[in-house]
Symmetry: C2
Subunit: 418 residues, 2 copies
């Protein structure tokens, strides 16, 4: 492990206009007709973005390589070790997403590593830009496709089983891009010493606190539930309140109380009901059934369990008291993922050396870093997000808030590889 | 006005099997492929049901007539007066409705008046069966079409303005049934002395209290609202609870509190949220907007106003505290309609004379009686509903619970017309 406070011993500078140009050029690929971007995995827009990144990596003097799933690497070979310090993020986007989520981390790694090579010569350990093919799960229900390939976590049946909304399998989409599903196991890497991902925060903590950067301590744990409430359909005019089993009134009380419980637990606990429906859905009929989803997260494993238990207790108490049927379907469950203390310390020291205000914080969103972390010492660096907006065309970070992140990333990679 | 406790001076008896046969025969017209019935206004099923009623009325010795909107009357002429004592209900149904709501009141009036004519001879005042063409508003958004025609409440532009889901205007649908929209004003009647409607309760009060019959004091007042809540769309993982403006969490608190407020006011106050939606509707996105409907009713004008004011106060308080936008759209507003005390007294005396347990109660549902009541002394008689079910295929009243209603109806009509 490197020493905690390594000074950069060669000057690395970033021209804001040049940084912005890369962001805008990549952000012009995959423009969605209704606003924002869409670069779904293995779509033409995705392929064009990957090609553009490869062209740039070569122009900047890095050696490029694609793996079996289409991840792209740009290599700056080390003089003493073929062990790799990796940095990057994903280039796919959600539908009508923005040009910073993911893409900024790939561009940042490219600019930092190429700048280091130019200013400081070849590193001791090998540095690689990692342009991750997919993270969002927006075309195929297969999140973290790129990072799961590199860590050997893709199950053999996935390529033929998983389909997009048009019925195309992942395997078919791979072949259309000249990729061989049978070769997926070859994407696994065992030569990685560290992974550093730069990403927009997608929240408001840095902006509201006036911080330049965030150093993530833990990527939050998450549980997704679909709650089915069943009552009895009744005439809304003739059925006294005390004789009702109103599924929607019950669901409403559940949502009001579970969101209140998350708020009472305090930051960073969150609980969200994002989808709701009621049947039969007539103004003058007491609903016989209602369904809603719950997304609840906490980066501390014990508090996450406590929050989930409290929410499930609320669901059961409300259902029992109101005489309602309750079925709780678990859609996803991820334990929190701590980032590697040693790499976090390198980021913190780099930020201090640059004289920047930084915040240690949890990530409330999921990231490729959580897939890499169990296999490779990993850390995640946040730059601010304007008004916390993300996954929307309004997603924005001014370049003046990006350049400090680039400087810290370069300084940290220098500390890790030189 | 008649004397309050008139004995029936001629024997009127009803054979349960014959009553059931009429219910079942009419209930076989308009069977919906997914269960229950659908007899939308001016549909073939509706026309077949009206024709069947007319055939029966003639067979039973009554003189039939259709008016401009298709209401059907079966007349037993009075010896002393052409002033009319009217009884009946509607034959249209909601989609997948039952065979008792409305239809039973038309059959009951037909059996009671024809039985009176047979057993007691011609009445002093004229008795008429009123087979109402439409009440439910299920095909066209035009509730109470039949009773509004008779009371002169159809506005001239309605036939050409109001369309069904397929875009057919009311005027077009009338012409297809051989009716002339221009003749609607001729349907107005000024010769009515009383209206008595027999209907299923569509609630549970009679069944739970072990009553044979209900005599309605007031038809409830109603307000229908559509509530639009607007917040801010955010990432469900990265946005702390205390920075959110979650439209669905706000809507859920509103629904939980407004239903609790109605319950706290006690019977017969009711409030129902029957429809709900949230946008954008993704599991991991804090909803930017939510909409729900409110149906709230109370038969006492002052308490109805108090309930509506309390609900509107809840909506405003929750929206203000949570920083949410609020728009409250009023879809309907009806004052409570009291039934005529003199006619209620005739029904009560008839029930007492039959030795039946009856309950004075409000109607939580709307009925043609509320349209007639401001113009003609009107009363509404309820028979029980099994488990309170209505507007569904399960709607049911055993014939043993219908015959007492027929006896009381016949006795009351005798008191009013003989």
């Amino acid at each position: 492990m490197p020493t905690p406070t390594p000074p950069t011993d060669c000057a690395v500078r970033f021209d804001p206009a040049r940084v912005q140009r890369y962001i805008d050029d990549l952000g012009a690929i995959g423009v969605h007709p209704e606003g924002g971007l869409y670069r779904g995995l293995y779509t033409p827009a995705w392929a064009a973005a990957m090609d553009r990144m490869e062209t740039w990596l070569r122009e900047l003097g890095l050696t490029t390589r694609r793996d079996a799933v289409g991840n792209l690497f740009g290599r700056l070979a080390g003089t003493e070790s073929a062990r790799v310090v990796l940095s990057g993020s994903h280039v796919d986007t959600v539908r009508q997403g923005g040009k910073y989520d993911g893409a900024l981390g790939a561009i940042a790694a490219m600019l930092a590593i190429s700048a280091l090579g130019e200013a400081c010569g070849p590193p001791r350990k090998t540095l690689e830009v990692y342009v991750i093919c997919e993270e969002e799960g927006s075309r195929f229900p297969a999140n973290f496709w790129g990072s799961r390939a590199v860590t050997g976590q893709i199950r053999p049946e996935e390529p033929d089983r998983i389909r997009d909304a048009d019925g195309v399998t992942l395997a078919e989409a791979m072949r259309a891009q000249g990729l061989d599903p049978a070769a997926i196991p070859s994407a696994r890497r065992d030569d990685l010493d560290a992974f550093v991902e730069l990403h927009i925060e997608q929240g408001r903590l840095l902006e509201e606190g006036g911080y330049h950067l965030g150093v993530v301590e833990t990527i939050t744990g998450l549980r997704h539930l679909r709650v089915h409430v069943t009552g009895r359909q009744d005439h809304a005019g003739t059925t006294p309140m005390d004789l009702r089993r109103d599924a929607l009134a019950g669901a409403a009380e559940m949502i009001a109380r579970l969101t209140k419980a998350a708020a009472a637990m305090g930051r960073p606990a969150v609980a969200t009901a994002g989808m709701i429906a009621a049947q039969p859905g007539a103004i003058n009929i007491v609903p016989r059934a209602a369904q809603f989803t719950v997304d609840t997260r906490h980066p501390d494993p014990a508090r996450r369990r406590a929050l989930v238990a409290e929410i499930e207790g609320i669901l059961q108490e409300v259902a029992a008291r109101r005489g309602l049927g309750l079925q709780v379907e678990q859609l996803a469950d991820h334990e929190p993922t701590p980032m590697a203390p040693a790499i976090r310390q390198v980021l913190a020291a780099a930020a201090d050396a640059e004289g920047l205000r930084w915040l240690a914080l949890p990530s409330g969103a999921g990231h490729d870093s959580q897939i890499l972390a169990p296999h490779v010492p990993t850390a995640l660096l946040f730059v601010p997000s304007r008004d916390g907006r993300s996954h929307c065309p309004e997603e924005f970070t001014p370049v003046e808030q990006i350049v400090p992140g680039l400087r810290v990333l370069a300084r940290a990679l220098h500390a890790l590889a030189y």
